[in-house]
């Protein structure tokens, strides 16, 4: 640090609390040395809503609908994880068909979430035509989700003991049509994202995380897998119908031959998971057992079963961004004695600290976005440099990123 005193030494940049590429507002503080990030710190909690507190004052059937609203993108992940925990405590056996319905909707969620993220990533790089394309392609899965559940977000389909709506045979042609659509477009997407020279220049060797770091920092989901850590709840602890399906976790070396753990690998993993999801949905349609989809149609009975139950359980599922964990403890009262929600980003945030070190300001948006597929906007970035404070808007930060892309394009 002392060597750089002449050029003003280090200075810190707070970014946030509202930030590009995050569903939740978060405050970053970067200690900069010139253009390079020297140290990173972050403070989440800008939109902590105390959902666990609320949940401990409600009954499980009410909480299922509360969990729907934890995240706007993971509409089914949280409710599924919570329902699974309660089912284990009350020993409720979910009908086989319901497992398949849950799997199909969970995979559609992965499709839309990954494509949404792909669009955001393209936008952060200044590749807006690709951003529009990715989001147009995503719209197909949103349409199917709406067709199947009645809602684009907050599907409200999971219930303790099963699902609230069946997917009937006459709906299969629409599902099949969307799968066909994704199969047709997958090659194009892979080509556009992975073969593009500019994307390669911006993403390769950017925001690198090693497998060891991924393990020690407790990362999950595509972020962990992109670093070569084979970890996928669907595969490791097969819940719902995943135990019946044929698949292996997506790892970057399957496509690239090696693992770098950089932003590019994270794109690879997510895009290949889109292809995988299509396959998984098709397997579900082919093997779907018949029968009921809800353990008990009368909700008071479900509630009574939950009320009687005592014990504790963990419900874990693989959300689009990684492991989603709900711990529930029931003690014979209507409301849970304890409820802990762990969303995937919770586990992945620590990885920023290492990923961002040594990167340039212009790379911050894409590296931050690389672990989490949500869209938001930085409202401001204040650069505190000596006594002067510059305010960089989201537009400025985005412009820096676009300019870097242009510079790289000119040099090559």
């Amino acid at each position: 640090m002392s060597e750089n005193k002449k050029i003003g030494s280090t200075y810190s940049i707070p970014i946030g609390p509202v930030h590009p590429a995050l569903k939740e507002p978060i405050l970053f503080t970067f200690k900069m040395n010139g253009e390079l990030v020297e140290e990173v710190d972050f403070a989440p909690g800008e939109c902590h809503r105390g959902i666990e507190w609320m949940g401990m004052r409600r009954n499980p059937v009410q909480i299922v609908h509360l969990t729907d609203r934890i995240c706007g993108i993971c509409g089914v992940s949280h409710s599924l994880a919570f329902a699974r925990a309660v089912e284990q405590i009350a020993e409720i056996e979910v009908p086989e068909r319901a497992h398949y319905v849950r799997t199909i909707i969970a995979e559609y969620e992965r499709l839309q979430s990954h494509l949404l993220w792909a669009g955001v990533a393209a936008h952060e790089l200044g590749f807006d035509t690709l951003f529009f394309l990715a989001w147009r392609v995503r719209e197909e899965s949103m349409d199917v989700i709406e067709y199947l559940t009645g809602n684009r977000v907050n599907y409200g389909i999971v219930q303790v003991g099963g699902v609230r709506r069946d997917f009937t045979e006459d709906q299969f042609p629409r599902i099949e049509a969307s799968l066909k659509y994704y199969e047709d477009v997958a090659g194009k997407l892979l080509n556009l994202f992975l073969e593009d020279r500019t994307i390669q220049m911006r993403c390769k060797n950017t925001g690198v995380m090693s497998e060891k770091e991924a393990l020690e920092l407790c990362t999950v989901g595509p972020t962990a897998r992109a670093s070569g850590l084979a970890m996928d709840v669907r595969y490791d602890s097969p819940y719902a119908a995943y135990g019946d399906l044929d698949f292996t976790p997506v790892l970057p070396h399957q496509y690239l031959g090696l693992t770098n753990g950089d932003v590019y690998d994270r794109i690879v993993v997510r895009l290949l998971e889109v292809v995988q999801s299509v396959d998984l949905i098709r397997q579900c349609l082919e093997n779907m057992p018949s029968g009921e989809v809800l353990w008990e149609k009368k909700y008071p009975k479900i509630l009574a079963a939950c009320k009687k139950a005592t014990g504790e359980a963990v419900g874990r599922i693989e959300a689009p961004r990684g492991e989603c964990l709900h711990y529930v403890r029931m003690d014979g009262n209507t409301n849970p004695q304890c409820w802990k929600v762990k969303a995937s980003t919770y586990s992945n945030q620590m990885s920023w600290l290492n990923m961002l070190k040594g990167e340039q300001i212009a790379d911050i948006p894409i590296v931050v976005a690389s672990i989490d597929p949500c869209m938001s906007c930085t409202d401001r970035v204040a650069v505190v440099h000596g006594e002067r404070t510059d305010i960089l808007t989201k537009a400025d930060l985005h412009r820096l990123s676009v300019e870097k892309t242009r510079r790289l394009a000119q040099w090559s």
Partner: protein, 229 residues
């Protein structure tokens, strides 16, 4: 990394042998879903604070775990922390969820940090400090995580005793009522519907009983029929 796979029973036995009297209840659970009923296995170990860190080291020796999260429950006289850790992931259906539960008496809410063994644990440890009022000894970063800076000291949201959220801190959204001075909604029948909704929403916190959740299934079903036609 070569792994010697142990069954949940073997892991439970290993812990019992090593820590014996310091362990509370040790349970092995199994749960299965899907048509094939692939088992999902978990081991629950209640362990005293004195040997907790050794137990974590013991688990690291078995297989470096992925720390899912640290949960915490206010049990009245004590606060129980639960470390949910997964081992043997990456192998189909082989994963074991090992939960180490550590009861802490409310008179002495201290627990050693495990961030020297699992660096990523700091995040969850910070959350437990602010939410449950425990003290993680030697934590490298003891700042608050989620709670805002103006949140009162010595109030811990997850506690169910006098240090929990006070009555006067709770803002019931339903109690606020509909805002006045707004133009009337354009469609008259819709307003009636909304009134009904806000009325039922108002009752939710008290009336947690079955009559209410019964409504949702009744409503969507006729809609679905329409869609199919």
């Amino acid at each position: 990394m070569t792994r010697t796979m142990r069954t949940p029973e073997e892991i439970a036995a290993l812990f019992t042998e090593k820590f014996g009297g310091e362990l509370g209840e040790v349970t092995v659970k199994e749960w299965a879903e899907g048509v094939k009923k692939t088992p999902i296995r978990s081991v629950w170990i209640r362990v005293s604070r004195d040997v907790f860190k050794d137990a974590v080291r013991c688990l690291v020796d078995i297989d470096y775990p992925h720390l899912g999260v640290i949960s915490g429950a206010d049990m009245g006289d004590e606060v129980e922390l639960l470390y949910h850790m997964m081992i043997y992931f990456g192998e189909r259906g082989q994963e074991i969820n090992v939960t180490l539960a550590v009861p802490l008496p409310k008179s002495d809410l201290r627990i050693p940090t495990i961030s020297d063994i699992i660096p990523g644990a700091v995040y969850s440890e910070r959350e437990k400090q602010e939410m449950l009022g425990i003290e993680v000894v030697d934590i490298p970063d003891s700042r608050r995580l989620f709670l805002p800076p103006d949140f009162p000291e010595n109030v811990y949201p997850w506690r169910k005793d006098e240090t929990g959220i006070r009555e006067d801190m709770i803002k019931e959204l339903w109690a606020v009522g509909r805002p006045t001075g707004r133009p009337a909604p354009p469609v008259a029948p819709k307003e009636e519907k909304k009134k009904e909704e806000s009325a039922t929403a108002g009752e939710t916190p008290e009336q947690t009983e079955p009559a209410e959740p019964q409504k949702p299934p009744a409503a969507p079903e006729p809609e679905e029929v329409k869609n199919d036609e």
